[in-house]
């Protein structure tokens, strides 16, 4: 396994108290694999990405968890060491909202080349040449190099942010809602581009999205996140066609389908307040298959066929 994440638990200190953003999140990622992380907004998806980049905001506390990347302990390294060895070089990230991801006063070409100049100490002409290649790789014209961000469209900016994430040939790219701000046709272009890059460069993706159908398009495996926990994880096909966790089932029911003569249903209730989450299983107030134990005890992880499910239903 290239990346092994175990029991990641993150809290935010807020004015209202401790916000439990992530609770014992574990998964592994192998080379060339794409893991889709699906969940509602506020479920902790972005926190997951930021944790791996070690870019959590100041009020976050990492309580527990280990992340081993090719034998290196990500959370254990010194900040300076992590910055030089792993950040962007091995694990890079495409942030939510490409619109604001670019520095407005620096030419985009230089921004793409910056990691090469700062990280690899490449001379400028060489770095610029590689940046131009990277721009072409994501389907942009070389001329774009000399543009400022405000001169480009949303789709172009998104491509630039992707080129930027690929410039140091990382092993893993974390994509945090990379297409949410784009219209559907551009979205499809970007997804196709990502699939192509993944195949050509044998990249691993952690694809964070709220859109389960989008995730299914690109991911080999899917992790469904609810209230800071991975409630179900498994190969995409199994999770989509044979969901085990009640939340996954409800989530799939809520997708409108053209071919089915049935209206989409919705999940009753609303996501829990993470400062004061429900006791026991966090999904129990909304769960149609709730049992006594769900009120009292946090569920453990169970393996059901090819999935790992955090639900008492599978307690034998």
């Amino acid at each position: 396994m290239m990346l092994e994440l175990k029991d990641l638990t993150v809290n935010y200190l807020t004015d209202r108290g401790r916000l439990k953003a992530l609770n014992k999140v574990s998964f592994s990622l192998s080379e060339g694999e794409a893991l889709g992380v699906v969940g509602e907004s506020g479920s902790g998806k972005t926190t997951l990405g930021l944790s791996l980049m070690r870019l959590l905001p100041k009020n976050a506390e990492l309580l527990e968890g280990k992340a081993i990347f090719n034998g290196l302990d990500i959370f254990g390294l010194l900040e300076e060491e992590f910055r030089r060895k792993i950040r962007w070089k091995k694990i890079s990230m495409v942030f939510q909202g490409a619109m604001n991801s670019l520095n407005p006063v620096i030419k985009v070409g230089h921004q793409v080349a910056e990691p090469l100049i700062e990280h690899e100490n490449l001379p400028k002409p060489e770095a610029y040449r590689r940046a131009e290649e990277a721009l072409e790789q994501v389907g942009l014209n070389r001329q774009v190099f000399h543009c400022y961000p405000h001169e480009l469209s949303g789709g172009m900016k998104q491509r630039i942010v992707i080129a930027m994430a690929l410039i140091l040939s990382p092993k893993i790219v974390i994509l945090d809602e990379p297409t949410s701000a784009l219209d559907v046709s551009i979205q499809a272009q970007i997804i196709n581009l990502l699939k192509k890059l993944k195949w050509e460069l044998s990249l691993s993706f952690i694809f964070i999205t709220h859109d389960i159908s989008l995730a299914s398009d690109i991911s080999d495996r899917i992790a469904v996140v609810y209230a800071g926990e991975i409630v179900e994880i498994g190969p995409s096909e199994d999770v989509l066609l044979n969901p085990k966790h009640p939340y996954t089932k409800e989530l799939l029911e809520s997708i409108p389908r053209i071919t089915l003569d049935k209206l989409p249903s919705f999940i009753a209730g609303s996501p829990p307040d993470m400062v004061d989450p429900p006791k026991g299983c966090k999904f129990h107030p909304r769960c149609p298959e709730v049992m006594d134990i769900c009120y009292r005890e946090e569920p453990k992880d169970f393996t059901v066929s090819k999935q790992r499910v955090r639900c008492w239903l599978y307690n034998d």
């Binding site: 950040r87 962007w88 670019l102 520095n103 407005p104 400022y148």
Partner: protein, 348 residues
């Protein structure tokens, strides 16, 4: 090419602003009858003096009145009072616009000249020494501490200095000046309370300059203490605003050094609004600080404006208004050009 054309257009617009401001001042002076009354008062003063001196030589009252009437007509003609204000004052604008500031009606320079340009040239260096120096000091300190606070935003250090700077911001300059005079000049006798030089001033040039600095310290201190808070606070806010942008996080994610982030991702982006404050502040400082200059008996531009208004010296008022507006407009023009260089998003 296009940029040059756009800048030229801006320049013309700004000159239009200059003209409008002058027109406004003139209309205010004229339409309210203030100008007429001022001039009539001057004429009556001169006639009263003439009457006292003539009364000795001309015994016949009728003869006296005739001579006085003649003199009055001459004076009315000289001041243009025989015409309505809207015929008289526009000439003044045209003269002032051609940089001929004319002569003051009753103010004089220290060397005795009544040419407005002489008066201004005498006062301007005093103001620059005092107000501009204070502005540069507080601007630079504000920049330094503002950035420092923004980096440590939310900590006790930040909170403590933020409170201090809001206190500084709230202090009235004149009050602070008086307190400083009481404390540092009268109680502790560290600085002189008023004036620019000791009397008599030292004859040696170097000593004279040091004497001047010694006299300037207290008013400069006052201005700096009263204005530094505003600077610190606004720089801190602007830097913080930029520091929370997504592209700063992305810069960090790219593994850039913290110093690079600070220089190229935060300060570089926050620079235009900060520079605006600095350059407009510099331009404004040339107008002097009326209250501080008054409290410390410092003959600068602020005092001059104040004296001109008290003495109802129309020519000086208009000349100064013109100068201040001109300075502001030049500063604005520099800013417009600078913005284009600093922020690629700005294209007019």
């Amino acid at each position: 090419m296009i940029v040059g054309k756009k800048l030229a257009l801006r320049g013309i617009t700004l000159l239009g602003v200059l003209f409008s401001v002058l027109l406004l001042v003139v209309v205010t002076l004229g339409a309210t009858g203030l100008s007429d009354n001022m001039l009539k008062a001057i004429v009556s003063d001169q006639l009263r003096e003439l009457r006292t001196s003539l009364a000795q030589t001309i015994r016949d009252p009728l003869e006296l009145e005739k001579v006085l009437e003649q003199r009055r007509n001459q004076l009315y003609d000289f001041y243009g009072l025989d015409e309505p204000w809207y015929n008289r004052l526009p000439d003044l604008i045209i003269r002032v616009l051609s940089l001929d500031l004319g002569s003051a009606r009753n103010l004089k320079s220290f060397s005795g000249s009544s040419k407005v340009s002489d008066i201004v040239l005498e006062r301007l260096p005093n103001t620059i020494l005092l107000v501009t120096t204070a502005l540069i000091i507080s601007g630079l300190l504000g920049l330094y501490f503002g950035v420092k606070l923004a980096i440590k935003a939310g900590t006790k250090f930040d909170r403590f200095f933020s409170y201090l700077s809001s206190i500084s911001y709230a202090l009235p300059t004149w009050w602070l000046g008086i307190i400083f005079i009481l404390l540092l000049a009268f109680q502790l006798r560290i600085f002189p309370p008023t004036g620019m030089y000791s009397s008599p001033p030292p004859s040696d040039n170097l000593l004279k300059f040091l004497d001047l600095l010694w006299h300037a310290s207290l008013p400069i201190l006052t201005l700096v203490v009263a204005s530094i808070g505003g600077w610190i606070y606004s720089v801190r806010t602007m830097v913080l605003n930029v520091a929370q942008e997504d592209f700063v996080t992305l810069g960090r994610a790219k593994g850039l050094k913290e110093s690079t982030i600070m220089k190229r991702y935060i300060i570089r982006v926050a620079a235009p609004p900060i520079l605006t404050g600095l350059i407009l502040g510099l331009a404004g400082s040339l107008g002097g600080a009326i209250l501080t200059e008054t409290v410390f008996g410092w003959p600068g531009m602020g005092r001059l404006y104040y004296d001109a208004i008290l003495a109802l010296d129309e020519n000086v008022i208009i000349a100064l208004t013109f100068l201040f507006t001109l300075i502001y407009i030049i500063a604005r023009f520099i800013l417009e050009a600078l913005y284009m260089v600093l922020d690629p998003r700005v294209r007019y």
